[in-house]
């Protein structure tokens, strides 16, 4: 065996690898298109939520999505905690009180309803999954609590490596926004059954949820000029509710990134100090002679 044969083996290896690596490109073409990457205020190492956007997103969720989708892990009190939509505690208490929450059993052994309190979770629209499916023709509207982290799409090679350095991790909201604005007429040859809709970004393209958003559907708070500062369009609703869903899924995102910057700064400085300490220690051998 000579050196050349090893070179040959290495070349073969490289060829095999590249064969495997370039296959996904062909595969992605037949699936759904990649959702467009939007610019989110919470992206990157300094990202923070846009309070107004979260408040609008909550309004969209409450008036549109909440009819079918629960958010059972989110509590009313979360709406006023730092790093979220930051409604006032009074607003949250008033909001919670507009909901009837099932509680009990009382001393008579009966369940009863009472006005909601900030500590209560968002009430789910259906008592259980079976009830939801029965009401929705067999489809189950997923809970929103962590959905923004549960949805993604394939990044592929080599993008997934670059993502480490760009800190791109907004697949969830990008996908949600794309899905909400991705309803289309089915192309020729695709026939929809009752209860099916065509969506460009849904894996397999068939989705039970009908197009939920339309322009002007949700009224946004007006600015000083009597107009909403952002357009009241389906696209904007989708952005806002996707941002709101990211906050629901990751309510401590701001605290995490803020602490992260402090930790990073500390570690870099500490590593620098250690580097010079190490250099100093290693400049002499134990007997006092120079290291080299």
């Amino acid at each position: 065996m000579s050196r050349t044969s090893f070179r040959l083996a290495l070349t073969g290896l490289a060829a095999g690898l590249s064969l495997a690596l370039f296959q996904p490109a062909a595969q992605a073409a037949e699936g759904a298109p990649k959702p467009p990457a939007l610019s989110w205020s919470f992206a990157g190492p300094f990202g923070t939520f846009d309070r107004a956007q979260l408040q609008r997103g909550f309004k969209v969720y409450k008036e549109v999505c909440a009819a079918c989708h629960g958010a059972s892990l989110v509590r009313f009190r979360n709406l006023s905690q730092p790093g979220g939509p930051e409604f006032s505690a009074g607003q949250v208490a008033a909001l919670a009180a507009t909901y009837q929450i099932k509680d009990g059993p009382n001393d008579q052994g009966e369940m009863f309803e009472r006005p909601g309190r900030p500590a209560d979770a968002f009430p789910s629209p259906f008592p259980n999954e079976q009830a939801a499916r029965a009401a929705q023709g067999g489809a189950y509207p997923p809970d929103f609590s962590v959905l923004a982290k549960a949805r993604t799409y394939t990044r592929g090679f080599p993008t997934f490596i670059f993502d480490i350095f760009t800190q791109y991790q907004e697949q969830g909201p990008d996908y949600i926004h794309a899905l909400l604005t991705g309803y289309k007429e089915p192309p020729a040859g695709v026939t929809l059954l009752p209860g099916q809709n065509y969506n460009e970004f849904m894996p397999g393209h068939l989705i039970a949820m009908p197009n939920p958003l339309s322009d002007g559907q949700v009224e946004y708070p007006k600015g000083a000029d009597g107009k909403s500062p952002v357009p009241e369009t389906a696209d904007q609703y989708a952005r806002d509710v996707a941002a709101f869903m990211v906050w629901m899924a990751e309510p401590h995102l701001e605290a995490r990134k803020r602490l992260g910057m402090q930790v990073m700064l500390f570690l870099v400085i500490f590593a620098g100090l250690l580097y010079y300490t190490k250099k100093k220690v290693w400049s002499r051998m134990p007997d006092g002679s120079p290291a080299h």
């Binding site: 509590r75 009190r77 905690q81 001393d107 309190r117 900030p118 500590a119 500390f266 400085i269 500490f270 100090l273 250690l274 010079y276 300490t277 100093k280 220690v281 002499r284 134990p286 007997d287 006092g288």
Partner: protein
Amino acid sequence: MAHATDTSTGTTRRDFLMLATGAAGAVGIGAVVVPLISQLAPDAQTVAAGAPIDLDLSPVAEGQAIKLFWRGKLIFVRHRTKKEVDEALAVDIATLRDPQTDQQRTKAGHERFLIVYGNCTHLGCVPLGNAPGEPKGDYDGWFCPCHGSHYDSSGRIRKGPAPLNLPVPPYAFTADTKIKIG
């Protein structure tokens, strides 16, 4: 580090470097301890669940007592008889271990209701005396079976090892027979 450095400037620089590195390390370790300790504190849901609760006292008949929980703590609500109220008022507070008048422990106009935390101030057992037939101790109040503390009909410690009266939780009457605890 067993050898000396050649010049005095070298020593200073090295000492400063060592000191700065050591200090940074100490700061780092200190910072790590913060989350490890603060996670022991009550979490956000436990804190939020401690919101005030409403209670209707009308079902509690005279001579009866009920138990309920607020913030996970046991609370006794006792509808005292005339005799029990009179006994509580007649005590000379100078003789008490933890001197408190009955008026200080009830709300004016609602003296028949005594509302106290239900854990013995000795080591936290639940005193007997709420249900009919249970021993009420020597002073028509409560008797703690663990270590023999006797509380009177105002929940004050009268005999036994407990140091303090049963504490009164924060509450207020919102109507004649309705209270808000917390």
